[in-house]
């Protein structure tokens, strides 16, 4: 096993900024949804809007960065080897079999990751940003798109938020599936990982 640089500075910055934004948006978002009271409604709304704006810029910039740097190729879904990967997660990992795919800086994602992140990066998160902006500027959206009510926008936004939580739960758990429990976490902090 050798330790190589797997995640560049921007990737790590993006990841952790995204972590901060999504945590903030989730906590404040569900307060706005009246699931609980924590920061106070007005604070929750203001923080949610600012974090939402910040996150939108980050996401747009990241998509731009991915296209220009060619990084997007790593997020294209493939079915090749997906069965092996699935077998590994359900059986092989229990028996401490080696990972079926070796990470390289040009190909960091296994087929299941590719599929998940493709859905996340190109659908779930952008949809959340778009519905969020429509929600925030519903008065303008009304004039431009003839949006009569924020109802479907808000419902979609809520549903997507739940889906993001589901992603985060599984994602956090998957961090522990490296060759040691904290190997992947260290990788995303230092950028270097043993492969």
């Amino acid at each position: 096993m050798e330790k190589i640089k797997l995640y560049g500075n921007y990737e790590r910055y993006w990841h952790w900024a995204q972590f901060g934004a999504i945590s903030t948006l989730t906590v404040t978002g569900f307060e706005i949804h009246s699931s609980y009271e924590l920061l106070g409604y007005e604070n929750a709304v203001n923080i949610h809007n600012i974090a939402g704006w910040g996150y939108s810029i980050l996401l747009i910039f990241t998509i731009f960065w991915m296209i220009v740097s060619g990084m997007y190729k790593q997020f294209l879904p493939t079915t090749k080897g997906i069965d092996k990967q699935f077998r590994f997660y359900s059986m092989g990992i229990m028996k401490k079999e080696p990972h079926p795919m070796k990470k390289t800086p040009e190909n960091k994602m296994n087929p299941i990751q590719r599929l998940t992140y493709f859905g996340l990066m190109w659908f779930l998160l952008p949809l959340q940003v778009v519905t969020g902006i429509l929600y925030l500027y519903v008065n303008i959206a009304k004039d431009i798109f003839g949006v009569q009510s924020i109802e479907w926008i808000a419902l979609l936004h809520t549903l997507m938020a739940f889906m993001i939580i589901v992603f985060v739960i599984i994602h956090v758990y998957m961090i522990t599936t490296g060759h040691t429990l904290t190997a992947y976490l260290e990788g995303m902090i230092t950028g270097k990982e043993k492969v």
Partner: protein, 535 residues
């Protein structure tokens, strides 16, 4: 080369992203702090009258009839009589198109309400609040300018009063008693001016037979009140008069009261002084599209004194040993009067909230009752109506007399000077009062009556609270907040779809269970593996 590109992109990211981040966040932060627009108010009511009326010979004559005072006024103030005679203050009715297209002329003159039920036929008492002299019956001449009472609005001495039971006349030598003396017309006419709160209040505070019976947000405590009761009219602050908002030109006073009005015309808006983006906070200001200013800024009404919320006429007429009696609640307000029935009063009342687009439907006298409670008026509007906003409303509910034969509300003869004239307030006989009341307005009465529930809706605009007491977000943006009855739109924090919340929660729980069982699986296998290695 590739590594180079990556490094350059990273530099670009830092150079471009950080400033954009900072700028947007600063901009957003700025919009969350509010720095309200300073209102530009010109307080017209405080304008001084230039002319010294005490120097006019014309006003120093020996007046015995108040009509002669009016004539003296009109000598200089020519054509003012024509202005007055065109107003609803004089005519007590207005040409109106109702929301359903009906063209009617409605007003206090002919509408039935669910307080004292109606003025017409009870002129001696009710027309005390008419700006004329002696509208005691149908013979009153609406075309005679001498019948106009200039003083009731323009007296600035506080000594001019119309006498009780005299159809709008002040006391004369013949009628003066220990409560009402003949006004000193020379003193009063020397001290006329623009109407003050006292002038408007004498009718608009006490309508319905007592202070704050009707409006709930308009009552005598406004004459000298704290900031907590009304930020505009408070004597601790700007001390505004009614006509500072109810701007008046040629005796046409701005402002609408929807218990007698129906059309979206001649209304007052807060934006007259406060602009249409008063908060300088984007989220607050966005609310203005769908929420009336009053909704957040009048969290409670009837702050100085209680207001009547329920009036049940069906219990009226009960006597003790043949004598009328009354009972009071803990606050000292009547909750039973032989002449009027049962009441419920309350103070510091939370308004109810309705969509309202500035138009109202009315129960017009003679309409058939097609729903109960009868809607004496109905505020129109809903979420999709671009003119409609959410308004705070006082709803006065009651039970009043109707004709079971014709299925119409009844005009009652309530008031008379003496017993034996058939008035309910003297003789306590509903049947006779109905016969006489209906006869006076020329309507048919079948001879059988009962009582029916009826509601009237009064949008609130007065008793604006200090900004510290404005409604907080959570008052409405919560599952069972103040707007829980308004369900025709999605509102953050209030509306939710149970299926989405359930689906979401179950997905989250399943994913937690999934990773937990996977983790347990890994642990169990690793323990087994270790045992195998050891054995």
């Amino acid at each position: 080369m590739k590594g180079n590109l990556k490094e350059r992109l990273e530099t670009l990211a830092v150079v471009v992203l950080l400033p954009i981040f900072t700028a947007v966040i600063l901009f957003q932060l700025k919009q969350t702090t509010s720095n309200p627009v300073k209102p530009k108010a010109i307080l017209q009511a405080n304008r001084q009258i230039a002319a010294d009326h005490s120097s006019y010979k014309l006003l120093q004559q020996d007046f015995t009839d108040p009509r002669d005072v009016t004539e003296a006024c009109l000598t200089c103030h020519t054509k003012r009589d024509e202005e007055i005679m065109a107003t609803a203050h004089w005519r007590w009715e207005r040409e109106t198109v109702l929301p359903d297209g009906r063209e009617v002329s409605i007003g206090k003159k002919n509408l039935i309400n669910n307080f004292c039920t109606g003025a017409v036929g009870n002129n001696g008492s009710c027309m005390r609040c008419h700006i004329g002299y002696g509208w005691k019956d149908k013979s009153f001449d609406f075309e005679d300018p001498r019948n106009i009472d200039c003083l009731v609005c323009h007296d600035n001495t506080g000594t001019y009063f119309k006498q009780k039971g005299e159809a709008g006349m002040p006391a004369t030598k013949e009628t003066a008693n220990k409560f009402y003396s003949v006004p000193d017309y020379n003193y009063i006419s020397a001290n006329v001016g623009l109407p003050k709160r006292e002038n408007c209040g004498i009718c608009h505070f006490y309508g319905g037979g007592g202070n704050n019976v009707k409006h709930g947000d308009l009552e005598e405590s406004l004459l000298d009140c704290s900031r907590e009761i009304d930020v505009h009219m408070t004597s601790e602050g700007i001390d505004m008069q009614c006509t500072d908002c109810h701007l008046t030109e040629n005796h046409n006073i701005k402002g609408k009261l929807y218990s007698v009005s129906a059309m979206n015309k001649n209304r007052i808006g807060c934006e007259q002084c406060h602009t249409d983006a008063p908060h300088q906070n984007r989220i607050y200001d966005n609310h203005i599209e769908k929420v009336a200013c009053q909704t957040c800024h009048i969290p409670t009404y009837a702050k100085g004194n209680g207001t009547k919320l329920w009036w049940d006429w069906s219990t009226a007429g009960d006597t003790k040993d043949g004598q009328p009696y009354h009972e009071s609640d803990v606050d000292g307000n009547h909750n039973y009067l032989t002449i009027k029935g049962n009441f419920v009063w309350d103070d510091n009342v939370e308004p109810e909230y309705y969509w309202f687009n500035g138009t109202a439907d009315h129960y017009v006298t003679g309409d058939k009752i097609d729903e109960t409670p009868v809607k004496i008026n109905e505020l129109m509007g809903n979420y999709k109506d671009s003119e409609a906003k959410i308004w705070p409303v006082k709803v006065h509910r009651g039970k009043q007399i109707y004709d079971t034969g014709t299925n119409e509300l009844i005009n009652l003869k309530l008031w008379a000077k003496n017993e034996g004239e058939g008035a309910f307030w003297k003789d306590f006989d509903y049947d006779t009062a109905a016969v006489l009341g209906m006869e006076y307005v020329g309507r048919e009465y079948s001879g059988s009556y009962d009582f029916v529930r009826s509601d009237v809706y009064w949008p609130l605009s007065h008793q604006v609270a200090p900004k510290e007491q404005t409604l907080s977000c959570k008052e409405c943006h919560s599952r069972d907040g103040r707007l829980s009855e308004l369900n025709d739109f999605y509102m953050p924090g209030k509306t939710y779809e149970a299926y989405i919340d359930w689906f979401g929660m179950i997905s989250v729980i399943l994913s937690i269970l999934g990773v937990l069982s996977h983790a347990i699986g890994r642990y169990v296998f690793s323990v087994k593996r270790k045992r195998k290695e050891n054995s």
